[in-house]
């Protein structure tokens, strides 16, 4: 079945991911790619308890996820790969070289970020990384839930869809 969604969401595993996307895409394998979470048993247990019993969650740091990506993609279950920040997804996409789409799901306000959409705030460095991915042929769109319109990156960066 392969990976159906590559999502960046700073809330990591939460309602929009597990229910909003998980149910319509019938996600059965969720891979949380985060260096900090992957290094902490407590963090892993915290997020493991947040997924329903019919969904398996795996944890990987970015380097491991790059190495294991062929295995994730070959899994017969529909999968979703999730990172909590743009930099992790940027490194993953650069390392795997076979990821065609990235979903901006939730990147909220922090110091240094400016608002692009209600749920997307970016620093100049984050903008640059996303532009670089798109220039390399990766389709980057913002879409918090499946029923919303997928907003293409240029439109996101213009801030016109706010």
């Amino acid at each position: 079945m392969g990976i159906h969604l590559y999502r960046i969401d700073d809330r990591l595993i939460h309602g929009q991911v597990v229910v909003g996307w998980g149910q319509p895409l019938n996600i059965r394998l969720l891979i949380l790619v985060d260096d900090l979470v992957a290094s902490s048993d407590w963090e892993k247990e915290l997020y493991r308890m947040a997924v329903p019993p019919d969904m398996e969650v795996r944890f990987a740091d970015v380097a491991t996820a790059i190495r294991e990506h062929p295995k994730f993609a070959a899994d017969p279950r529909p999968g979703l790969i999730l990172t909590g920040d743009i930099d992790s997804m940027y490194r993953l996409v650069k390392g795997v070289k076979a990821i065609g789409n990235v979903n901006l799901g939730g990147i909220h306000h922090r110091a240094g970020r400016s608002e692009k959409l209600r749920y997307v705030f970016l620093t100049p460095d984050e903008e640059r990384q996303l532009k670089e991915l798109e220039a390399a042929g990766v389709e980057v769109t913002a879409q918090d839930v499946p029923s919303a319109r997928a907003v293409p990156l240029p439109e996101v960066l213009e801030g016109a869809a706010r």
């Binding site: 700073d10 309602g15 947040a50």
Partner: protein, 134 residues
């Protein structure tokens, strides 16, 4: 009255937090049914980072003396934040999957501590889910 009761009779005993307007709607229903919405603090987490959600809950716990956090989904970011808080604070209780029956039972249980009331209310809330029809 258990000495863990903490908050006085007229102060909030719990925080309710969830997706969208879930918490406001639920607490509004408590107020409409029994007029005891002032026992509950409503928090919305719309547009917040996980750190903001955790910080806001901590702030309201400290400010109100509430010892109970009610959240909607076990997978919700409010629940994740609340679990981080409860981990290091003995005497705090988190109940996820809250419904109206749970909150109504909770606000009426004023003769025990909020944490005891929360445990009992969670059982009442579970029992309130019934399926009728074939």
């Amino acid at each position: 009255m258990n000495e863990n009761a903490g908050a006085g009779p007229d102060t909030p005993r719990a925080i309710v937090v969830g997706h969208g307007e879930f918490a406001a709607g639920l607490v509004s229903a408590v107020g409409q049914i029994c007029g005891m919405a002032d026992k509950l603090v409503v928090l919305s987490m719309m547009g917040m980072t996980p750190e903001d959600i955790e910080g806001t809950i901590r702030d309201h716990l400290a400010r109100t003396g509430a010892r109970v956090i009610f959240t909607d989904l076990p997978a919700g970011s409010a629940t994740i934040a609340a679990r981080r808080i409860v981990k290091n604070e003995p005497g705090l209780v988190l109940v996820s999957g809250v419904n109206l029956a749970t909150l109504l039972d909770f606000v009426f249980s004023t003769d025990v501590s909020p944490t005891e009331a929360a445990r009992a209310a969670a059982e009442r809330g579970k029992a309130s889910l019934i399926v009728v029809g074939r």
